[in-house]
Amino acid sequence: MKLYLRMLGNSYQQNIAYKANVLMNLMGQILGLFIQISVWVALYGGSQGVNSNIGFVSIQEMIYYVILSTGISMIIGNQVIEQMDGKIKSGIIAMDLIKPMNFFVNILCETLGNNFFRITFQLTPLILIGFFIFDMTIPSFTNMMLFIISLINSFILNFIISFILGIIGFWYLSVWHFSRLLEDVVRLFGGIWIPLWFFPKSLVVVSSFLPFQYIYYVPINIYLEKLSLNKSFEMLTSQYIWILLLSGLTYVLWRKGINSLVIQGG
């Protein structure tokens, strides 16, 4: 435990060494946020709200949606695929595998360290912007709790999916384009840019069979109180089912993959 806490702390500190990076990243995120908001304002064209497949959505709610999805990406985003890709291609993964530790937990600690760093240095400014410029409000206590729980699940789900794609690198050396693909698929089916509210029926059906909407769309909806209590619990359960299924898949793939892994470089 001490080990993992230390690794987490180190990864947090490592970020400090690359401060400029973080600052640039933050500016990019904030800029992206304002662009998205302007686009939605333009699309709404002065009307107070539009109809969607979950009912009336006001421009205010849409702006909250954008802010929330930006914030969630700071909390649950990860670089696992790029990290594993780099480790496998350079053969540095050997240095992790010669140690008596669990590779999955190792990557998880690094990710948590990074994310705590982002939470302190990127999320804080975003929250300030949300509350002071856009008058965001906090949901009811129950929804806040449900939101936090679903957000933790989102993190786990996103992490596991990334890890699975990383493992694919054991067979196919180059996986970074998977990471692009994943990003785009999550963006679409997860409702990062366009909420599933505005999806045609067929796409809504497709995405209900995929794990991606449980990453962004569900916690945002819980925060915005768009789901009934029952529906919220249903969604949380679905998150757990997906986590369970994908964990199993991770275990199987890891077992198989580690045996066909060829350490590069000599």
Binding site: L3, N10, Q14, M95, L97, I98, K99, P100, N102, L261
Partner: protein, 339 residues
């Protein structure tokens, strides 16, 4: 039973053959063709506790590949490796606690944090008791001279400093076996010497078994009680060094610097009457290679001094690297003849 037991070990790599051009790339996508490279080919050896074994061979011989299999990060294609009664790749985490590993080309320390922090992480990772940790750190810091850079981030260390830190990290948990893949690559003479002394000391005091690969024959002469030479994935020799020298070479080289340059040619011609193997003129010096069984150095020197006056001479005894080089070339000649 031996500590390390390698039996009929084979590793075959699969390499995709890339076809040229765009159509080639498309074809690759659907029907990828592979070529196979046998990096380690049916090798067997046993290593006992307390040995220091030099695992030698030319570039691409299959040394690193074998080490990776013994360390447990590469699964053999055929044959078996048992280390300390465990199959490395099947018991990776338990195995990891029994061994220490240094790959000279890369570090197992954390890139962005100071050396001491990294070592502390190793302590937690290997669950090293406090007093053992303190004792080892003190001892290793002294022998390896870690004090001056222990608070520096690993990415800011020089190669030699990093290698010393890595060695320290690999031994903190008192492993039974130490695997070193080119631990002295790119280091200066002083650091090399330090590292050799360290390895020797650890081996003597703790009976740590050491398997190391290197291209530096000084390492071999100063450290190894036994060498295993491989080439093209197969074992060429397994035994002690003096026997290797007897078997593959009893040649010596005398280098002479005559007082007058114009004597060089005539001297060389005079030596042809003696039973020497080769004469060469290089940098205004005469190099004579001979077999100790045929003629001794006194006979050659007296012949030369009777003909001309010389300023200086050196006798270069048969060096292990010369022996090994000869083995490699003989082997590759044989290979060529077969084709």
């Amino acid at each position: 039973m031996s500590l390390i037991s390698v039996n009929n070990l084979t590793k075959q790599f699969q390499r995709p053959i890339r076809q040229e051009g765009f159509t080639g790339a498309v074809k690759d996508l659907f029907h990828r063709q592979y070529e196979y490279k046998t990096a380690v080919n049916d090798i067997s050896f046993q290593i006992n506790q307390g040995e220091i074994v030099g695992y030698l061979g030319p570039n691409g011989a299959g040394k690193s590949t074998t080490i990776k299999m013994m360390v447990g990060i590469l699964v053999p294609t055929a044959g078996s490796v048992t280390v300390n009664e465990l199959i490395p790749y099947k018991n990776r985490k338990i195995h990891a606690k029994n061994i220490g590993v240094v790959f000279g080309q890369r570090t197992q320390l954390w890139w962005d944090i100071p050396v001491t922090e990294s070592l502390l992480l190793m302590k937690y990772m290997y669950k090293i008791p406090n007093d053992q940790y303190r004792k080892n750190i003190e001892l290793f810091s002294d022998i390896l001279d870690l004090h001056e850079f222990k608070n520096t981030a690993v990415r800011q260390l020089s190669l030699g400093q990093r290698m010393r830190a890595d060695l320290c990290a690999a031994l903190l948990h008192d492993p039974k076996i130490l695997f070193l893949d080119e631990p002295t690559i790119g280091l200066d003479v002083v650091v090399k010497e330090k590292i050799r002394e360290f390895i020797k000391e650890i081996n003597k005091v703790r009976q740590t078994t050491v398997v190391l690969t290197t291209h530096d024959m000084d390492d071999v002469e100063k450290l190894c009680s036994r060498v295993i030479v491989i080439d093209h994935g197969q074992i060429m020799y397994d035994g002690n060094i003096s026997h290797l020298k007897d078997k593959y070479g009893s040649d010596e080289i005398i280098t002479i610097e005559p007082e007058h340059n114009h004597d060089l040619i005539s001297l060389r011609d005079k030596l042809l009457s003696l039973n020497v193997m080769d004469t060469k003129i290089k940098d205004l010096k005469l190099q004579i290679t001979y077999n100790k069984g045929d003629i001794n150095s006194m006979q050659i020197l007296s012949k030369i001094m009777s003909e001309s006056s010389i300023i200086d001479f050196t006798i270069q005894p048969c060096e292990i690297d010369e022996v090994i080089r000869r083995m490699y070339t003989e082997n590759s000649l044989k290979g060529k003849l077969k084709i």
